[in-house]
Amino acid sequence: MKGLNNYILAFIILALLSSLLFLTLLLISRLNKIYEKRLINRYVPIIDKLLFSILFNDEPVHKVIESNLYQSVYKHKSFKKTLLASIVKLHEEYSGDYNEKLEDFYHQSGLIKISFFKLKSKAWHEQCEGIRELSQMNIKAGISDIKKCIWHNNATLKLEALIAVIRLQGVEGLSVLHEYNEQINDWIQLNLIFELENSNLEAVESFSHFLKSKNESLVIFGLRLIAKFNQIQSLDQIWELQFSNASDKVKTEALRTLERLPSMSIYNRAKS
């Protein structure tokens, strides 16, 4: 009985100490959040002022960087983090000259180095952040490193890299998929199609080459792209799939693609 009592006492002490530890961590986390919120509240007006002067007052970037306001805060980690997030967000919302100015600031301020540093990190989520920042800011210099991530084991990193390649190279970026032997699930396909749709493509080459792939998911992806971009020139290849050894899944998708393509072209094909 005494032995058990000692064990229980040890467990009680352990539970109490753990409670104290968790409580301390909780308080630290809560205080950190409050502190960070305060910092952001302090930095946001400064960032707005700096970026406003670059974007709308045509202030040269180097002057803004040399300004006392920028110099007083730029060394702070939280400031850089908030500034980087703001620039990336603005770049997503604006276009043309505004984006060129933002890209110029991204280079000159050295924020680009932070993104490259993240890309080379060993933590997959930091790599994801780096890839997103570089691709949003249209930095093509990182493309070879980004392409390497396509073969990473982590699904999120893989997807982020695929999206970035399309964002930076447009339809040409899809060529990386030719060597792809893994399954491209519906979620990846949906993201890639979304990215292509938002790439302001002018002339889209035929996606029918995907239909010859041995990777079933790539064939389905090709069919979906054909349907999305109304590529009626691929009708013959789609019909061929119906009579090939393709799986039921592929044949069903081929049928759906035919249904989605403009009806007149299908009618003409059937007639011939």
Binding site: Y7, I12, S29
Partner: protein, 480 residues
Amino acid sequence: MLLNIFIERAVSVYNAVIFFYVILISSSYLILAIISIITLSRYLKENSFINYKIILSSDMAPHLSLIAPAYNEGRNIKENVHSLLSLSYTNYEVIVVNDGSKDNTMDVLIKAYDLEEVKYDFTEKIKTQQVKAIYKSNNPAFHKLVVVDKYNGGKADALNVGINVSSKAYIICIDADCILHKDALLILAKPFLEKSDEHVIATGGVIRVANSCVIKGGSLLKINVPTNMLARVQVVEYLRAFLLGRMAWSKLDGLLIISGAFGMFDKDIAIKAGGYDIKTVGEDMELVIRMRRYMIENNLKYSVSYIPNPLCWTEAPETFSILGKQRSRWTRGTMETLWIHRRMFLNPKYKILGLLSVPYWFIFEYLAPIIEFTGLLITFVFAILGILGWSYFLMFVLFAYSFGIMFSILTLLSEEYSYHQYPKVSDFSKLLLAAIVEPIYFHLFIVYAALKGNWEKIVGRKGWGDMVRTGFNKGKQSTA
């Protein structure tokens, strides 16, 4: 002399067995918590890169039927249906099944949504109570809404009617009184897209306590900690169960339950498995197990997903009387489900479900209150006989109490690091206080309710019992 030695030995053995059981149950909680925290942390990191909005514009998104059974929900039904119709999703319909309500549920729906009886063809794939009529709205703004009026048959029967009427490939079963996050369907649909190479048969979501939250027009505007202590304790309890329990079971591929208040299922598999079982009050857990059994017994590759995001908010009981009925029903549901699927117990054919999940539910979920009560009873007898080791007993109680508090604080820490839904310091202090009083104020009652559930099952009591809802942001009201 011999009797004394025997008694002493028996007491020692009893103490050792109870000690071993408590250590085992505490360790299992800790192991599940560690797995949950690791999984949750990874999920949150992945989730921060996801743009759910792209699902909105895609025709690849799964087509969904939201099924909401309603029984005497007249007071809240209008705004609850409005909330369901305003979700961010393209391909979905809302099927409200009025399960023979005795109040004005049907009248409210007809008036609020300009409903008209229509001829609606559907096949009765699952046998149910007779449908009286099916209504659609004359207002194009409510084209997604289908209202089914049927004879009373219970929640499971109403859900089965919803499955029969559904025209989409996936069903989402929710309680009509739940408030869903605007992006709930987008988030719930993602696993079905993500794992297109295997068959996702179900996805479960987290249920959060909505008492004292500000809800307007069926939308959650502000999250508050409940003012009522009983509901507040349930906030901690729900967080513990959903964040530190089910997350781990999902990771281990051993999830047995998807809450009846919010879950998404592959309709075809749900029908093939036989739909909801109307004979049990634990129809949510029972369906998940039956669907999983169906897949395993037919050698079909499948998975069950779990989403930890706070997507569904519900009203928790605020009085011991209603809480007692709810928990007694949960116990009966567990008993019935475990009995129906007793074949799975320690059966390697069902892999982790048979070897771990079902035995765990039996030993640590179902038996725990019975063992606790038996322990208290024996302790009482020992005290009367004068053979109780008081120091051991007190140390034991202190350990149970300190472990309970430690685990609840770990739960609050997980919430702080993950979804941070209670940012106000005052709210956090209230939850901490709830965690401290829970083992005394709440836990003993839960043990009592579970025992009552056992008794009711033994004497053959069936059904859900009367439920009283306060209603969101409304005064007290009564519905049966």
